[in-house]
């Protein structure tokens, strides 16, 4: 059973920053699922997840969306070598609902239900016309709260709703609490696995890779469904690469990194163009 940690919290509360802290402080591979809900923000891009796997989701209500991509992604993660999975919920997700994935999805167990709170916006959000109840529920329903950018008043307000919290200076103590039994996670599977008819492969490169190389590679491989990762070009500029069937996007990246790409594709992959 893979441990699933659910992280809730309203927009801008610091969920992504916390996930980046977690990734830096753990030595084992972690899978990240970001339910960005088809929103304007692109949290996924902000996660500095170079060694692990990050999948973005647009999950909705089952009566309007029979394709549960969160469920698909949870199944996919089961086949990967990640030892734990973190689910970053949308800003209005209710912890109790999200925790159901930890308690109900075959192959998983719930490790922690965590909500991130930003102190300086807490009071205002708790009186917001539209989200006050949601924010309150996020706090009440969680096992554990992580609060940042706070003052004494914010702490008092928070502790009246849920006394089990860690402050930002107690991050280390929080990190110890985030996973359970990570070393008893089942066997480690090879990274390349069948996902229905789709296959996934990680490509690593020693030398520079340019945008043209990627475009040629895509043209030579019509079976590519998605491609993402970072490349470092011959001028030593890093790019975040994000390719779907309809979109080929290169964004300047501030992270200095070796080139690495995750490719999801059908049938065969012709890699000659990239490894010339």
């Amino acid at each position: 059973m893979k441990p699933l940690t659910v992280i809730c919290g309203y927009l801008g509360s610091g969920k992504t920053t916390l996930i980046n802290h977690i990734l830096k402080s753990t030595s084992f591979p972690i899978g990240i699922l970001v339910n960005d809900f088809g929103e304007l923000n692109i949290d996924k891009y902000l996660i500095e997840n170079e060694d692990e796997l990050t999948i973005s989701l647009t999950n909705g209500c089952v009566c309007c969306n029979l394709n549960d991509d969160l469920g698909d992604s949870l199944n996919f993660m089961l086949s990967q070598k990640v030892k734990a999975v973190i689910l970053e919920s949308s800003g209005v997700a209710l912890p109790v609902k999200m925790s159901n994935y930890g308690t109900s999805w075959p192959g998983y167990k719930l490790s922690k239900l965590l909500t991130v709170v930003e102190g300086r916006t807490l009071k205002q959000l708790l009186s917001d016309k539209f989200v006050s109840k949601t924010v309150k529920s996020q706090i009440i329903q969680s096992d554990l709260i992580y609060i940042n950018r706070y003052n004494d008043f914010d702490l008092e307000l928070l502790s009246s709703m849920n006394p089990v919290y860690k402050k930002e200076e107690e991050l280390d103590a929080l990190l110890e609490n985030i996973f359970i039994e990570t070393d008893t996670v089942g066997e480690i599977l090879p990274f390349v696995e069948e996902h229905n008819s789709l296959k996934t492969e990680v490509l690593l490169f020693d030398g520079p890779i340019n945008q043209e190389d990627i475009l040629n590679f895509l043209d030579a491989n019509p079976g590519i469904e998605r491609l993402k990762g970072w490349i470092s070009d011959s001028e030593n500029q890093s790019w975040l690469v994000q390719v779907t069937r309809s979109e080929r996007d290169f964004t300047v990246s501030k992270y200095q990194t070796t080139s690495r790409l995750v490719v999801i594709y059908k049938k065969d992959l012709n890699k000659k163009i990239l490894y010339k």
Binding site: L40, L94, N100, T103, T134, E247
Partner: protein, 545 residues
């Protein structure tokens, strides 16, 4: 060649000439409606024929459903309906099944004929009428056929032993799951998602899905429609939905047109999660337009959760049991997305179900009106479950339209009065009378399969407000039969931005008619839903029913 349609009476829904006797049509358009006498100047030097098949009938403008979901219908229609409400289909009447015994009887009679390859899937079970469902209960009826009972709300399903075995769902895999009750064979919420993953190869099977769309075509014609709107293209899979609809509807024998409204989140999803690019994609979709399918500058957004699933967002005092509604879009992001489309001149259609979801849409509209005032913008509140009179007044001042699901009153008002929100609010759900008093352009829709795709049924509910228990709910919110007819014709056309072409019978408009056996403005209002629909006329061509 001029074709003349003679009727016992023509209800034009044109206030300047409300009743006529004949309609003259040339090349699919109305050239004039009036009497044979008044048409003389047209007929003097032109050839003409007179259709007298409808001499004893009533002709009304072609009926319009401005909000249904062909893709969802294509999934549901291949299933076998056993429900507490009555459904009239071209292939027969599905009678209301309202007790546990009659449910078992209906299931037993039907289940030997599989619906999806080897599987039998039935939709419509509801515990309040049909009693608790379980694996044992289905096994006792039939333990050999793999049977799946899908709940009316879509949020739960139940399987018998044969189905569990057929889908290879084993106890060891799911026994720790809190939302799968393996002993009772029940899957709900997250457990339902798991079950649907196993079922998707059957319910989304290309052949079955296409057959479902074909059935929908029959249903739409049978309901007397000449125009429908797919109010969220991209619900499941944009490309597949569009291609399947092209396959079924793009031929000259299709008796109705389909107005397509793209799902903003799905379009953004196809554009790397970026709504600005999503808008650009929508603006390019008109290259798909044909005689029967048409995109325009229209978009579908969502605020709060589904009304049937009781996850609408409510203002104080909320739900009786204290549970919370859900947001389908984060409120501040809703505003950002709406602004993109508002500033580009779109008609924005917003799914709103609870009064707090509605409040978000109205607040947003007020802000956008302040930033960039627009007139005749057709910002439309879709579904309109719970509202307050003050909200209706505000949306009137802001120039918004309403497209309401009146059927909520019929199916849910008694249930919600007793189990959800209490009598006062439940009785005034779909507050349509106030909308008309506040001069809000108001149409009625089915959101099929949330209600029957049968505009006369929607009209009947809005005019009578009688629920399934026979109770009259908030008589003050009833509308007149004239208003009811406007709501399924000219107002629906206005909501879709098509009132210059369809929605009434007058010189210059498309020759879209629905032919009725009785006069919907003269019959006993409680009989409106039972009026026989004889035929439709789409752009001048007769399609008998």
């Amino acid at each position: 060649m001029i074709e003349i349609f003679k009727a016992k009476s023509v209800i034009t829904v044109n206030p300047s000439l409300p009743r006529t006797e004949v309609i003259a049509v040339r090349d699919g358009r109305i050239i004039e409606t009036g009497s044979l006498e008044s048409l003389k100047p047209w007929l003097k030097n032109n050839e003409f024929t007179i259709h007298d098949d409808f001499e004893e009938s009533i002709i009304v403008p072609g009926l319009i459903d401005p909000h249904l979901h062909p893709s969802m219908a294509a999934v549901l229609l291949p299933t076998y309906f056993i429900t507490a409400m009555e459904w009239k289909f071209p292939w027969g009447l599905t009678k209301a099944t309202t007790t546990p015994d009659s449910y078992d009887k209906a299931l037993l009679e039907a289940c030997s004929t599989p619906t999806h390859k080897d599987l039998f899937i039935t939709w419509g079970h509801h515990e309040l009428w049909h009693g608790p469902i379980s694996r044992d209960r289905i096994n006792a009826l039939d333990s050999h056929t793999p049977i799946i009972v899908w709940n009316r709300s879509f949020h739960e399903l139940c399987m018998n032993d044969a189905a569990l075995e057929y889908l290879e769902i084993k106890e060891d895999d799911v026994k720790n799951s809190s939302q799968i009750d393996f002993v009772r064979g029940r899957f709900f919420e997250t457990g339902l998602s798991f079950a649907l993953q196993k079922l998707n190869p059957y319910i989304l099977d290309q052949e079955i899905f296409t057959e479902g769309l074909r059935k929908l075509k029959e249903v739409v014609h049978f309901g007397g429609h000449t125009t429908i709107a797919d109010m969220a293209v991209g619900l499941f899979d944009f490309e597949n939905e569009l291609n399947a609809q092209k396959l079924i509807y793009e031929n000259e024998n299709n008796p109705f047109r389909v107005e397509l409204v793209a799902h903003a989140t799905a379009m953004a999803g196809l554009s790397g999660g970026d709504h600005v690019k999503g808008e650009q994609l929508i603006s390019s979709l008109n290259t798909h337009n044909s005689d029967h399918l048409r995109f325009d500058k229209r978009v579908k957004l969502f605020t709060d959760g589904a009304f049937f699933a009781q996850v609408a967002q409510l203002m104080e005092p909320g739900y009786i049991d204290g549970h919370e509604g859900e947001w389908l879009t984060i409120p501040e992001q809703f505003e950002n997305i709406a602004r993109i489309y508002w500033n580009k001149g779109y008609s924005i259609h917003v799914h709103v179900t609870g009064d707090l979801g509605l409040e978000l849409a109205i607040d947003t509209l007020e802000k956008l009106q302040f930033e960039k005032p627009r007139f005749n913008h057709r910002f439309t509140l879709e579904h309109f479950g719970l509202s307050t009179p003050e909200q209706v007044h505000r949306l009137s001042k802001l120039g918004a339209n309403v497209s309401a699901n009146a059927y909520y009153v019929h199916e849910l008002s008694n249930l919600y009065a007793n189990h959800s929100v209490g009598y006062e609010r439940a009785s005034s759900m779909s507050r349509i009378g106030t909308c008309f008093r506040e001069r809000v352009i108001t149409s009625l829709h089915s959101d099929f399969t949330m209600a029957p795709a049968h505009p006369l049924t929607s009209m009947w509910v809005a005019v009578n407000r009688i629920n399934e228990k026979g109770e009259l709910m908030s008589p003050e919110e009833r509308i007149t039969p004239q208003q009811g007819l406007e709501a399924i014709t000219i107002n629906a056309a206005r909501v879709l931005g098509l009132d210059h072409e369809i929605g009434s019978i007058r010189s210059g408009k498309k020759a879209d008619f629905t032919v009725l056996s009785e006069d919907p403005l003269e019959v006993d209002p409680t009989a409106i839903k039972d009026i026989n629909i004889e035929a439709t006329v789409f752009e001048g061509r007769i399609f008998k029913i």
